[in-house]
Symmetry: C2
Subunit: 111 residues, 2 copies
DNA sequence: ACTGGTAGATAGTAACGCTAAATAGCGAGA
DNA sequence: TCTCGCTATTTAGCGTTACTATCTACCAGT
């Protein structure tokens, strides 16, 4: 996968991170690690930190500073009510797009 | 749907248009109309034309000018071999992303 | 002192879709 | 004739996003 995934992630990475935080509060470094586990090997940490700043400024997450034993303090993000609403909307938008794409794909490769 | 769809379309709209052209050669105005039929009501024509210029410059489509009865000549785009390769790659990338998203969604809303 | 793992911040860049406006050809109605 | 509307394409400028690269900071082990 080349640059296609980079462009596709625009708009979806935000939802992905919100979904991760929704399942359980987490801090940036941890989120990056989880993404790598899930197959997103090439996502840079800087990308995640910038995204977290963004969703914090938009008011989708609450932040709590927690000291770490092994480095600087962690910023633990948890999804709030507004974030949940936004995530719901994200899933609706995603479903819309996925349905259309599936239809297109099926038309292109008929069984 | 607000701006989420706009961001999500980045990277996918290109594949969508390539898939449309793959199923049958088409010109810009026609592609815009088909998109509207398929539910993408808000996609501006300017977006499509710019995208077509891009995929032409990248060599994914062949172009043929065809006179129209009702206006300026049409530029009919058809997918070439290179475009087909790129479209295949697009579907692989899309499937990767869709699989991960589906997994995340299922985790978030367990039955 | 140095390396490596943990943890976060940020400036600059490229790509993409959107907005808005312009140009152009043609037919129908006032 | 003039204008409106539909067809058809082009383009400049804008906002958002992910990536690259680099920096700071803390601690443990060698």
């Amino acid at each position: 996968m080349g640059k296609q995934i980079t462009e596709m992630l625009k708009g979806t990475l935000e939802g992905i991170v919100l979904a991760i935080v929704a399942s359980q509060p987490a801090y940036g470094y941890e989120i990056t690690a989880r993404l790598r586990e899930q197959g997103f090997a090439d996502i840079a940490e800087g990308t995640i930190y910038a995204l977290l700043v963004r969703i914090e400024q938009r008011g989708f997450v609450d932040v709590q500073k927690v000291p770490s034993e092994k480095g600087p303090p962690r910023k633990v993000y948890s999804l709030n009510a507004q974030g949940r609403d936004y995530l719901d909307e994200f899933w609706r938008t995603w479903s819309f797009l996925a349905d259309r794409l599936e239809q297109l794909h099926d038309e292109g490769t008929p069984s």
